[in-house]
C-alpha cells in the first residue's frame, strides 16, 4: 500500500497581492498535486500560481518543469508536480484585478 497524505495548507486565506504558502516537507513523496479553490472568487482578476521548491525550507526557486498556472480567480484549479526534492510551497500572485479572493489550498502527497 502506498503512503499518502492530504494537507490543508490554507483553509480560507485572503489573497493580498502575493501569498507564499508555509514550507511543507515532502521528501518521502514521489508525486504531489496542489488544489486551489476560490471560496470567494474575484471575477475580472488574473491570478498566477507557481510551484516552488527548496533545498532547506528557507531558500526557494520555481519548479522548472511546471509552467505557472493562470486563473481568473473563480472556481477550482489543480497543479500536479513531481521530481520536486524535499520541500514544496506555492507562490500565488494576483497580477490583475482589484477584488481580494479567498482561497482554500490542499496539497496531496503520495509515495
Amino acid at each position: 500500500m502506498r503512503q499518502s497524505q492530504s494537507a490543508v495548507i490554507e483553509r480560507g486565506v485572503e489573497l493580498e497581492k502575493v501569498l507564499e504558502t508555509e514550507p511543507f516537507e515532502a521528501a518521502w513523496a514521489g508525486e504531489a498535486r496542489w488544489f486551489v479553490q476560490f471560496l470567494r472568487p474575484a471575477p475580472g482578476s488574473t491570478v498566477e500560481i507557481r510551484a516552488q521548491i527548496s533545498p532547506d525550507g528557507i531558500n526557494w526557486i520555481d519548479l522548472e518543469s511546471v509552467s505557472p498556472l493562470e486563473s481568473e480567480a473563480v472556481g477550482f484549479v489543480s497543479l500536479p508536480v513531481e521530481r520536486f526534492g524535499h520541500w514544496l510551497r506555492l507562490r500565488i500572485e494576483q497580477t490583475s484585478g482589484s477584488g481580494s479572493p479567498q482561497l482554500r489550498i490542499h496539497l496531496e502527497l503520495k509515495e
Binding site: 497524505q5 494537507a7 514550507p23 521528501a27 525550507g57 528557507i58
Partner: protein
Amino acid sequence: MTIDTASVAAGVRDGMRSSDPRLSKFNPLPRILTMDDFNQGAHGWVELGGNYDGRGSLESLDHHFRDFRPPQLSNANFFDVGTHGGMTGTYSLKLATRQIPGHTATSIRRLTMSGRGLLQIEAYLAWKVEANLSGGEEANRYGDITWDANSHPSEAQFGAFTVATDLCSEGIRYHNVMRFQNTDADGHLIQKWMYPVVAEPTPHERFEGKHDYGTYADFTAPNPDDWRYLSDDRQEACYNEVPTKINWHYLRFVIDTRTRSNVELQFNSDVYDLRDVPVPPYDEKYESLENLLNFYFSVRTLGPHRNFLFLDSVVISTDW
C-alpha cells in the same frame, strides 16, 4: 510450589519488549494501544480541527481553531547539514507554527477507552526554531541570549510545547495538560513545566456565547493567569547550541482515567509527581464523547519565528 502467573507473564512481556529495539527504548504499561513510528506514516496524528456547522462553513469555526497546521513527515532537512533524520530511521512527525506571535500548531490522535485505569503516553521528541540566514548584527541577539558560539539566539525564540489529553467518561470531560514553557513573549528564558487550572474553552461554549477568542489565542487556556508552574526549578534540556542539531528527549506522562487525575511526568531523568496537580473538569456534561481518549501535542511560538516540535516516535499504553 505455586507459580505467580501474573509476575511470570510480566517477566515474559518485559523480556520480549526489551529484545525489540523499537520498544526497548520505551517503558509502556502492560497493554500497548498504539506504537507510532513515523517512518511508516502519520499513524492517525492529524491537525486538530474545529467544530464547523452543518454547512461546513469556515465562519462557524472558532477563530483560534482555524489554523492548527497539518503535521509533516519530516526527514529533518537543514541548510547546513542536509538530512538529519530521525532517532530511528529517516522520518519524524513535525509540527510547525507560522512565524506569527501566538500561533499554535497542534496534532491530535483520536481513540476511545475500553477500560479505566492508568493511561500513559511516551515520546521521543525535540524542539527547534527555523534557522535564520539573514539580517545584521541584531540577529545575534534575542531576549536573554546573545550568540557566544555556545548559546544561540534561536533558543530564546522557542515558545512552548504541550502534551495533553481530551478525555470523557460518564459525560464528564477533562484535560490533563503538561507544557514545557521555554520563554516568555520577550524571549526571556523560563524553561519550566506548567499546567492550567481551568478547562480548555470549547466550541460549544463559544456557541453559547461564553467566549470568542482571537486567532492567536492560546487555545489550551487563553488567560496566562490560569497557568501554574509545576516546580520553581528550571528544567534543564539539550537544545544543543544551534537550531539544526537535534537531540531526542524522552517524555512520559501518566494519568489515571478512573480518578480523572494526573499521576506522573518524566522528562529524561527528571520525574515529577503530579498527583496534586489538578485536572479541572467541565461543569457541563458533554454529549457524543463517551469514552473519548485523545492525546494532542502542540507547539506555540511567542514571536515572529517558526517553532517546530519533532516527534520521532510515540507509544500510548494502559493497564486495563
